[in-house]
């Protein structure tokens, strides 16, 4: 084989027309995706939205409690002290790490059986 033969074959390959998709294929794809269940491509899943909502509600409650300085603030301080103490225990930190890594893995891998094409570390 010489370069001319190879180039000629390449030209012929690249000149081949693509197969014509059956009529209605694009519409079917769009119905199943873009015009399908709206949440499918949402930036956050349902569980993530719920978790973010809970965190925001807690933050709002904490902020209001601090600003108003009502009777609950002392209990809140005690609770935070307890939380801080718990977070300094090595075994709790380890379990929190395990939980965090599991959550991160689930978030990336999802729950569908889809094989991740770039999951082998060879992504560009």
């Amino acid at each position: 084989m010489n370069h001319d033969e190879s180039d000629e074959l390449d030209r012929e390959i690249f000149a081949l027309p693509l197969a014509e998709p059956p009529p209605g294929l694009r519409a079917a794809i769009l119905r199943a995706t873009v015009y399908g269940p709206a949440a499918a491509a949402a930036p956050f899943g349902r569980f993530e939205i719920a978790a973010i909502g809970v965190c925001l509600a807690l933050a709002a409650w904490f902020g209001i409690a601090c600003l108003t300085g009502d009777a609950g603030t002392a209990e809140l301080g005690a609770f935070l002290g307890l939380l801080l103490h718990a977070l300094t225990q090595p075994e709790i930190i380890v379990w929190l790490g395990v939980g965090f890594l599991t959550a991160a893995w689930l978030s990336v891998a999802g729950t569908s059986p889809l094989r991740l094409p770039f999951g082998n570390g060879r992504a560009s």
Partner: protein, 181 residues
């Protein structure tokens, strides 16, 4: 002089879809559905199966858009999903392998495609369809992606050296087939 606005690139469309504009994904479908269908058809050699695999690939891509790595190419990603969808179907044995019937492998080419195909092109397409699967897939991706060997390797999850070897052997087989035509 053209006043047409430049078309948004794939990364922009993906970001837009993730930001709550799913219609942007529609543009990606319009951009790649034909190529994905072509890959599925050449891999499955059955128009109905190819149609199902194409739909499945875009559906999976849409659902998994958040896992798409921005530094990757969308074409490579969608081809990879489509190729694995085809492999899964073939592995599940939902389709029995057929005898090599290149002329009937694409039962519904468009009229313009038929008109474009001269004898030599028709022979080449028949020769590609008659290749063993591993060579046929590499040649099909070569047709779709050009000389982007690394991208082809990613789609097939193969080392680049293997892709080049398959491509070399595929071309040899094609050349022989065309000589004997």
């Amino acid at each position: 002089m053209s006043s047409a606005a430049p078309e948004p690139n794939d990364a922009y469309l993906i970001a837009a879809a993730l930001a709550g504009l799913p219609e942007a994904f529609g543009t990606l479908v319009e951009r790649y559905d034909r190529a994905v269908y072509h890959l599925c058809l050449r891999t499955m050699r059955d128009a109905d199966e190819a149609r199902d695999c194409t739909q499945e690939a875009f559906f999976k891509a849409f659902r998994s858009l958040r896992t798409f790595k921005p530094e990757a190419k969308f074409s490579t990603w969608i081809f990879s999903i489509a190729y694995h969808a085809c492999c899964d179907r073939l592995a599940r044995g939902k389709r029995q392998s057929r005898a090599e019937l290149p002329e009937t492998a694409d039962p519904a080419p468009g009229p313009e495609a038929v008109a474009e195909l001269n004898d030599r092109s028709r022979a080449l397409r028949a020769a590609i369809d008659a290749l063993p699967e591993k060579y046929r897939t590499v040649i099909t991706l070569y047709h779709l992606q050009g000389k982007q060997y690394e991208e082809i390797a990613r789609v097939l999850d193969l080392p680049m050296g293997t892709v080049k070897t398959h491509l070399f052997r595929a071309k040899e087989l094609l050349r022989k087939a065309l000589v004997t035509e």
